[in-house]
Subunit: 345 residues, 2 copies
């Protein structure tokens, strides 16, 4: 979503230590445009905390975002911070409603960059249908941070038909992925100092709550588990599931959707796309009898056009993720140890 | 609270970039002791989000903590991060129940320091009676952070008798402060590089939820407003209240409780204690007819022994904070512009 939100006139061109004081400069910063941009009934109270009316089972999730660079092909840290927490809530089977927004700014950050991040936040909130209801702003000295770190923490009521739990996963269940993998990590890598390469690959950062709601509306308890394979990629998420359930995961190499340009970049760089981060893709583990119907629904859903059934939960190979190729060859997909690519979220 | 929690055997002596990967190193870090230390039914699920049963009006508040140094007289950044968010919830009239915990660690942080901060978190949670139910860990390169930044975001149901709102503040209301002021800021200052001075002043960091609950149990709607004067001190908080209500605030110089050692340090350093941060003090604006009874209750409450009535809400001097001395002299107490002392929370 592109919003037309011209930057208001701030008294400063750059963030200073005083903007984190809680005094006049903090107030002026917030009241010169930040509060207006994100305005809603609850935030407008300008309190240290928001008062929400909640009822029943509620998901609660937090994430800090330290991505570098803060502007990347397809988005910025602000959109990523909103989408990341919205998606964590969606993976619980919740309907995201409210988020908190907490900044750690580095002294010297330009107001223009800060504003562009804020506009990214607003756009992502509007797309996901959630509200920023409370926040915080801190400033650290130049050299003690890196432009901007953002924490978002979200709240959402569980979908009435959701029953998402590791306990529901059973052998025979099918594993779906909602879209082409590895776009976010490759988009960030393409802009990293010393690694720039020519590509039109953009991050897949987006909210997943609308697609998840649609799945739950239609298929309720047939959706056994949802996960978004961000840091560590598909390999990390599937290894976690195998480890936590004690079952095996068997993947079909050819079934995994991947953009040819992303595959090409991975080959050139010697990276395995299974380990590359995604920010707009989820895995659904679903009952086998409904798997095709769920796939068909997903494929008619925005940003899930490339959804695919990529594997099966098995009793064999407990705790392990096995990749099968079309020739019948098999390899173990291990949990990544460290990081191929630090600070991608 | 001093806990006896010996550090478990970690594979590393220092935090590495891989600990923020979301892969094997992240898992090992969390599962080598972090999860065990903070264990509770909800956190033990090890999901990206926690599922909570909530009902009715709920307060939601966030704060990031970037204090330097991370260990200071009277506490560490972990305790501060828990108490800070617990107190923001308490100031809404809520009963804090759950918090999220999100770390931004700098590569090279020693495991010993990380563990000591975690133990501080556990101790503060036990004292306040709340649970860490979800979290996140990120790592940034050496020189892109400062040892450890922590975000905590909290949730708590409103006290059934609470009706805390700026709208309830009216002329004649009395202003109480719950304890001696300015201890936190002076304790931090005493340890700052180049400023060390000999003192036994320790931070006042503590939870305020138990004292607030006691006030609300007994005096309900007579408690019109609660605020904790952290960054910017008493001056900033009272100016906000004057500005937001449109009423005046008149303070009695001699009534403001302050430890003689803190007062002495402020005099030597040329600092006004009204502008110094507190982390275990709150202001209550209460109906005048109950003010003495509320004061008496507070004075029998732990960590509120020095509570005092320090001023009155007036129709005169709208939007301003006026300090009266015993000789009848008056001065305006302005909102601080920048920061006397950066990164005190």
């Amino acid at each position: 979503m592109q919003l037309n939100c011209p930057m208001p006139k701030f008294d400063f061109d750059f963030i200073t230590m005083g903007h984190g004081s809680g005094g006049l400069l903090t107030h002026k910063l917030l009241e010169s445009g930040v509060f207006d941009l994100l305005s809603n009934e609850k935030l407008d109270e300008h309190h240290d905390g928001a008062i929400l009316d909640l009822k029943g089972k509620t998901a609660f999730s937090t994430d800090s975002f330290v991505i570098s660079p803060i502007f990347f092909p397809g988005g910025n840290i602000g959109e990523l911070a909103v989408n990341g927490t919205v998606n964590d809530l969606a993976m619980c089977g919740a309907l995201p409603q409210y988020i908190s927004l907490s900044f750690i700014l580095e002294e010297g950050l330009s107001m223009k960059e800060f504003w562009d991040v804020l506009v990214g936040i607003k756009a992502a909130c509007e797309e996901a249908g959630i509200q920023v209801v409370t926040g915080d702003t801190k400033v650290v000295e130049k050299g003690k941070g890196d432009k901007i770190f953002i924490n978002t923490t979200g709240i959402g009521t569980l979908h009435p038909r959701a029953d998402i739990s590791l306990k529901n996963v059973k052998p025979g269940d099918k594993i779906l992925v909602s879209n082409q993998i590895a776009r976010h990590g490759i988009a960030i890598l393409s802009k990293r100092q010393g690694l720039e390469f020519e590509t039109s690959i953009i991050s897949d950062t987006t909210n997943l709550n609308r697609a998840v709601k649609k799945l739950l509306d239609h298929f309720g308890k047939n959706i056994h588990l949802l996960r978004d394979p961000t840091r560590g990629g598909l390999a990390s998420t599937l290894n976690e599931i195998a480890g936590d359930t004690g079952y095996g995961v068997v993947l079909e190499d050819r079934a995994i959707p991947i953009d040819p340009q992303v595959r090409g970049a991975c080959e050139i760089l010697g990276l395995d796309p299974l380990y590359i981060a995604n920010e707009g893709v989820f895995i659904a583990i679903v009952s086998s009898e409904k798997a095709d119907a769920i796939l068909n629904l997903l494929r008619t859903t925005e940003k899930c056009e490339h959804a695919a059934i990529i594997g099966t939960i098995t009793e064999k190979n407990p705790g392990k993720v096995i990749m099968q190729n079309v020739m019948g060859g098999k390899r173990v997909v291990n949990m990544p140890i460290g990081e191929q690519l630090p600070r991608i979220c």
